[in-house]
Symmetry: C2
Subunit: 242 residues, 2 copies
């Protein structure tokens, strides 16, 4: 048993590594990553500043690790939402309930992602963007299987998924703010708004294709270029060469 990669040694290392992550996450509740200090983190853990380097090159690297931790558990969440095959209305309620639960159980993670998504550390921004991208891809795949998506172009399903994901992240962040600054009343207001907005989006979705994609001829022209080609029918039309 003691032959393969070390046992107690690596376990203890992982333990302090996790302690560093936890301490950082705690400190990040009231500041942003780019202002967080290395010593500040090690002080909370109760370890020498130099010990930090055994685990991360710098705080940016720790930040990226935090992203994985925060958004990894999120993939579990989306499965929960997409698993059930409810009607549109119940699906919205379930979705929001899951978001509420997630915010309640992982407030620091939610705050971290919301804050650092546009934060001052490039590597972390990219890590979050990448993770949310994977997230959107999952949602898109699930949306595609639903009857409402019949006849939809893949890029359109994807743009809808991205709209949903962004809305959920935003709602989670707002929910968090409301929870600790506005009280029960503010929370209810956020929930109410999120529900209605999702309802409206879902409504737009159901009527997409009827008249949403402009005229038929334009829709055809677009079908060949796609999202990466040009910006479609508009006042400021781009050349199709791209």
């Amino acid at each position: 048993m003691s032959h393969s990669v070390g046992g107690v040694r690596q376990a203890q290392k992982q333990k302090t590594r996790q302690a560093l992550l936890d301490a950082a996450l705690g400190l990040l509740e009231e500041q942003s990553l780019s202002s967080l200090g290395l010593r500040e983190v090690t002080r909370v853990v109760g370890v020498a500043p130099t010990a930090f380097y055994r685990h991360f090159r710098d705080l940016g690297e720790l930040g990226v690790a935090l992203v994985e931790e925060a958004l990894g558990s999120l993939h579990v969440m989306v499965r929960a939402i997409l698993a059930e095959q409810d009607a549109a209305e119940e699906r919205i309620d379930r979705t929001i309930a899951v978001v509420e639960r997630h915010v309640r159980e992982h407030p620091a993670h939610v705050r971290f992602v919301a804050r650092e998504r546009r934060g001052g550390v490039r590597a972390v921004r990219h890590a979050i963007a990448g993770e949310l991208d994977r997230f959107a891809a999952e949602v898109a795949a699930a949306l595609k299987t639903q009857p409402v998506s019949a006849g939809w172009r893949d890029e359109d399903v994807r743009m809808l998924a991205e709209l949903y994901v962004d809305r959920l992240v935003t709602t989670a962040a707002e929910l968090l703010d409301a929870r600790e600054e506005g009280g029960e009343e503010a929370v209810e207001r956020v929930v109410w708004r999120a529900r209605r907005q999702l309802r409206l989006i879902s409504l737009g979705r159901r009527h997409w294709g009827e008249e949403g994609q402009a005229s038929a001829s334009v829709a055809e022209a677009e079908a060949e270029s796609g999202p990466s080609g040009l910006s479609g029918p508009s006042g400021s039309a781009e050349p199709s060469g791209g």
Copy 2:
């Protein structure tokens, strides 16, 4: 002329104050407010660190001033969008064009708002939230005058306005990222997506009321409670007492 409040004196003061704001805004392109240093700012301007205190108590106060500067000009922008009475499709194109222009002309302001909206400085977060709230109110007032909004409840117009505003802010931030990290192609992708998402929302808006507000009886019950009361019809119903 020299009788009333000072002339040259106050003018010079305003000048260095503006220099401090500009310097801070520049430095904030690559870090967040909570990591910005007082000395860092004064060094760029070329004044003594202590001079800072003549204008702001601390960097948080400077941040709030930056919010006003950044979001003040934004109100002009919304007037431009809402002024024209185009058809829905052209309105979307015009809107996005205005956003693109704004991002091109005030990139640092856009980045600042996007970053500090969920940033680590409470006072600044609140300032941004307040300003975006005023902004949403303006949009709501404009939406209300449009024929499509006939029969809409005020809270629903407001929630739509907030959806639009959030989408525009997000789009501006994404546009900025794309512009300086992804090249022309990435910018076009963002524009394409934003256009489609607005289109879908606008579509949902046109069909709101047909079936969007659940059943009639429930819609009635909601009409009395409103957004601040409780969360309306859902699986996890709240008591009406609050």
